[in-house]
Symmetry: C2
């Protein structure tokens, strides 16, 4: 038996409130686009799979799951991504990258929803990364024809699949300010 | 001074691991599409603003923030949404709904990214709702012409703005099984 300055139960109650109410918003608030990563800090296969699980838990139109993923940790491939994608230069210092590959829905009901579905899956990866202490940068590919063509060539992605985005991943080596904020002028209340 | 069976510091350390590592994934895992809500459980303005803050903390192409929001708690307007949108019937029992309204980017650099940007913002709302103990259902509007036209009329949304989706919100009155899962066949590792 050890002596505590306060009751263990008080601590648990306090932390439960923190755990169940605060962290989501904290994670959403703490997400940043990270463009500089620490070198020599690998992203493990286990971490990649956790990020990919988060992605695949996103909702999608009619549960069509219109996505696939390429998880890259090979140094020269990361450098190749930076070479072909003008806004993915941070892949030079990233330890990993995930290419989200869209599979456009062919069924009539969910047809055309893949960009928003893949956007939700991508957002899940970014948030899960914060929870793992990792930083990310979402680099747009679709709908830019040239970037799509370059990524197709690099990863041998054939139609109907479409390279959707590149997510650079690593341990943050910078702490940029938040750019998102609540903007009341963007809200109309109907009550 | 009270006596604890274990050290308070051990508890804090254990819960810290839980707080910083587990909940994100738990929230992502616990998100469901909820189609039945408890009646008489209002969604407060404070909760709506927290959901909308989460939305506006999502990243967007060139930080263009191509979105606006209509936050509905008026009963008859919720019923109207259910009347015009064939897949938003759960709005009849929902206590609130958020209409995400896209503002397509006109600048060349971020042009065309609004569906994925609004998809990320929508996903943030769904996750924040789980953290608040609320359930949600993402009902697609864009790119369905008829639904876009009906929502335009109902909320007086004029071009270039586009009704993007309806998110029904309330206290869950059902516990559907998870539909998302990690699917290894969808991953290619380049290492």
């Amino acid at each position: 038996m050890k002596v505590c300055p306060i009751s263990a139960f008080e601590i648990i109650d306090t932390l439960k409130v923190f755990c169940y109410n605060t962290p989501m918003n904290e994670i959403i608030k703490n997400r940043r686009s990270i463009r500089k990563f620490e070198s020599g800090k690998p992203v493990t296969r286990e971490q990649l799979d956790q990020l990919l699980e988060a992605a695949m838990l996103a909702p999608s139109a009619c549960n069509s799951r219109p996505w696939e993923f390429i998880a890259v940790t090979k140094r020269e491939t990361l450098d190749e991504i930076a070479r072909v994608h003008p806004y993915a230069q941070m892949c030079k210092t990233a330890s990993a990258a995930i290419i989200v590959v869209a599979i456009p829905q062919t069924d009539e009901k969910p047809a055309g929803y893949f960009p928003q579905d893949c956007g939700a899956a991508t957002q899940n990866i970014l948030l899960e990364a914060v929870a793992l202490g990792l930083g990310t940068c979402w680099c747009g590919v679709y709908p830019r024809d040239e970037r799509i063509a370059d990524l197709r060539k690099l990863f041998n992605i054939n139609e109907p699949k479409i390279p959707f985005c590149v997510i650079a991943i690593g341990t943050p080596a910078e702490e940029p300010n938040a750019r998102g904020f609540f903007e009341k002028a963007k809200v109309t209340y109907v009550d």
